[in-house]
């Protein structure tokens, strides 16, 4: 700890010298951080601002402006309805079902993904022969597009033609995701987890590698076995990464499982896999109910903002045991 602090002060000193010589002596304090040529500054900022403008501010404005009106799909008639879209939304049992489902699905997905990735990452150190193959196999799903993996899962587990579904059938389990919501949800969850385990795995392997060997060796000398060392040394030291992954998994489950759901179940049967994000698409783009869809995306935006705030708060708290 002391060492790193020393390095930082040593670094900061020459930097300040250099900056000072670059800027004219009359500009000090706050002004010293100003660009003297505002056009250069604007030019450097422009790409990022443009991206934000087109992919964030304009869509946000559109969503907000549509959330308070009822509009025919072609935009010919528009009636201001105030908060009607929101009240209808919150009083609709379908929307509440979708919210509960989304919470359940993202939570389960988040922790199961993390758990499986942890197991694999832990095992990476124990695998001696063919470690590259082992890593390759785990990373493979990440390279497959969500739509393609969705088609594969849907086909493998299709009750009339899918080979794995028929295997389940022969084992005595009447598998049918078209008629049993739990089967559909299970299928979507497994596909979503399978797709995301590799992401968590990469981060965890890196985090586990960063744990100083000396600490682990000390544990080993004191007689702790590999599992004990993993649980009491490696895991706590990787806590910042794990926390980061929990947030990322939630974001993935909430927003990025769209492709898998669209291909495997279309949100069915009877809305049993219709997550909040998928519902925005269903209502807006398939059913052309733009008002309700916009209101739903405003709600989702609020959730996303909440997540961001939570993450920043937690990062400030510094969940960390760095030596």
């Amino acid at each position: 700890m002391r060492l790193s602090e020393g390095a930082a002060t040593r670094l900061r000193f020459p930097l300040r010298l250099k900056l000072g010589s670059l800027l004219s002596s009359s500009e000090t304090g706050l002004k010293a951080s100003h660009f003297r040529r505002p056009w250069l500054a604007a030019g450097l900022l422009a790409p990022q601002l443009l991206i934000l403008l087109f992919f964030f501010f304009i869509p946000t404005w559109k969503a907000l402006s549509l959330a308070f009106v009822q509009v025919d799909p072609f935009g010919a008639t528009m009636i201001f309805v105030g908060l009607d879209n929101f009240t209808t939304l919150f009083s609709s049992p379908e929307y509440r079902d979708s919210a509960v489902l989304t919470l359940w699905f993202t939570t389960v997905q988040c922790f199961v993904t993390l758990f499986v990735a942890c197991l694999f990452a832990f095992a990476t150190d124990q695998v001696m022969r063919g470690r590259a193959i082992y890593k390759g196999v785990i990373l493979f799903p990440y390279a497959i597009a969500p739509a393609i993996s969705g088609v594969l899962w849907a086909f493998l587990f299709n009750p009339t033609v899918g080979p794995l579904a028929q295997m389940l059938d022969e084992l005595g389990y009447a598998w049918d995701p078209n008629r049993r919501p739990s089967d559909a949800l299970l299928l979507v969850s497994v596909a979503a987890i399978w797709k995301h385990v590799c992401y968590d795995y990469i981060f965890l392997v890196a985090a586990f590698l960063a744990v100083p060997a000396s600490v682990i060796e000390a544990g080993a000398i004191d007689g702790a076995g590999p599992v004990r060392r993993f649980l009491t040394i490696t895991l706590p030291m990787a806590a910042p990464t794990i926390f980061f992954l929990i947030v990322m998994n939630f974001v993935y489950g909430l927003f990025e499982t769209f492709g898998i759901i669209d291909v495997i179940t279309h949100g069915g049967p009877a809305g049993s896999t219709n997550t909040l994000v998928y519902k925005v698409y269903q209502d807006g783009f398939r059913q052309l109910d733009l008002g309700s869809s916009a209101a739903q995306s405003v709600v989702l935006m609020a959730i996303a903002v909440l997540f961001t705030v939570l993450q920043f708060r937690a990062v400030e708290r510094k969940v960390n045991y760095q030596v």
Binding site: Q70, D72, G75, P159, D176, V263, Q282, F285, L288, D289
Partner: protein, 441 residues
């Protein structure tokens, strides 16, 4: 040997370059007409054939067809494009989107367009069920293009093996046959549930059995129509389907598998599907296939079924020369010869009397008896308020809701009556919303 080969390659290349140059020149002079369509597979190939035939038939216009996904996806693409003024000149839109398109303010009525561009189309020549659907106050709003109706497809070999010459006329009779197919172990899947079963097994079921689907003559009488199908024999129909599904007599194909492929592959012995399945069945089915009219309830005098499929809409906001091209294309599509070719290639019904008469005269239906099943079913009896068709605003939305509620029945989450009540209630909210937005239009 090698040198002759090289020579022929060289001359081929030269010829190709010449051809491409020629095509490039003529394409540059031609007015491009964009057409977004929504049918795929064999039918999509036939659409491309139609376009290329039209482009070859004249040198002023070039129709460029783009497949935009299924009907809902194509409609969504259209809506998004229209709002930023990037719409196509022609849109293929399903019968379900009729009201939405009609009152969208985004279309030029077909008769207005044709009259303005100096074409004369005999609108009275369109066959009755088609005209009854697309003609509003004596004027067609869109050009009827691919018109279909659901019919009962069956595997004659399988039915024979179970001791039946043909499927029964009534649902009650058909039920016994399907259960016999299963019990006699002829097949594990007597019937497949079509993806658009709400169209065939609920809407057309209502029409054939003369049951009201909505008030005000199923919406023909005004925007203040309400759904009533939760108070008709549809309730019993849904309960029957649920029972069949539970007993493994009726199978759901599920995502990623086209229900019709369960029939054409021989997995399922029957399916109630569009007559447009002819192109797929004729190409893929390796057994003795056949088709019959849809069953009706015992003791009911069956009525006509209703039209499905789609029409071509001329979209507003295009320059004069493009509109002229759209009219030329519409005129081409409405020709009896083209109609006949299209109907034969796809299985859709001929939409004009002239085309139908021509095919009949040739003896086409003697050689292809199943091609006439849909026409017979469409023109059976005198249409009533319950069987003329459906005019509901935002029918796409209420359909999606009906499908979702039906899935709740299949999963056992809701009883048939409960699901239908909920579907009607939610559907009526959509009708009221539509009424509010389009009052006085």
């Amino acid at each position: 040997m090698a040198s002759t080969y090289m020579k022929s390659v060289a001359s081929l290349l030269a010829a190709g370059a010449l051809l491409m140059g020629a095509a490039g020149a003529s394409a540059a002079e031609r007015v491009k007409i964009e057409w977004w369509y929504a049918i795929s597979g064999k039918l999509g190939e036939t659409v491309q054939q139609l376009i290329s035939d039209f482009n070859k038939s004249q040198d002023k216009y070039e129709v460029v067809g783009t497949f935009k996904g299924n009907y809902e996806e194509t409609m969504a693409a259209m809506v998004a494009a229209y709002r930023v003024n990037q719409q196509p000149a022609i849109l293929q839109s399903a019968e379900r989107g009729f009201m939405t398109m009609l009152k969208s303010g985004a279309i030029i009525p077909a008769d207005e367009l044709m009259a303005k561009q100096g074409y004369k189309i005999d609108w009275s020549d369109f066959v009755k069920p088609v005209a009854g659907f697309y003609i509003v106050n004596g004027k067609p709003a869109a050009l009827p293009f691919n018109s279909s109706t659901p019919i009962l497809w069956y595997n004659a070999d399988a039915f024979k093996a179970a001791g039946f010459d043909a499927p029964a006329d009534t649902w009650q009779g058909l039920e016994k046959q399907l259960y016999a197919l299963k019990e006699k172990k002829v097949t594990d899947c007597p019937m497949a549930l079509p993806g658009d079963f709400q169209w065939s097994l609920i809407e057309n079921y209502s029409a054939i059995n003369d049951q009201p689907f909505g008030t005000k003559a199923n919406g023909y009488g005004g925007l203040d129509t309400e759904f009533v199908y939760n108070r008709t024999s549809v309730v019993g129909q849904v309960a029957r389907l649920k029972k069949w599904i539970d007993d493994g007599v009726l199978k759901i194909a599920g995502q990623g598998v086209a229900p019709i492929s369960l029939y054409t592959s021989g997995t399922c012995a029957s399916i109630i599907n569009s007559t447009a399945s002819h192109s797929a069945v004729e190409a893929d089915a390796k057994f003795k296939w056949s088709a019959a009219v849809m069953p009706h309830e015992e003791g009911v005098q069956p009525k006509n079924s209703t039209i499905g499929g789609a029409a071509l809409w001329a979209i507003k906001g295009k320059p004069e020369e493009v509109q002229a091209g759209v009219a030329a294309f519409f005129n081409y599509v409405a020709q009896p010869d083209v109609q006949e070719w299209w109907s034969k290639a796809t299985g859709y019904v001929p939409v004009t009397n002239a085309a139908y008469a021509k095919m009949k005269l040739e003896g086409y239906f003697k050689d292809h008896p199943t091609r006439e099943v849909a026409i017979e079913q469409l023109s059976r009896g005198e249409p009533t308020d319950n069987s003329r068709g459906f005019r509901f605003g935002n029918h796409n939305q209420s359909t999606a809701i009906l499908l979702e509620e039906m899935q709740a029945v299949w999963t056992g989450k809701k009883a048939p009556q409960e699901a239908l009540d909920s579907s009607v209630k939610r559907g009526n909210e959509i009708l009221r919303q539509y009424e509010k937005l389009h009052a006085g239009k």
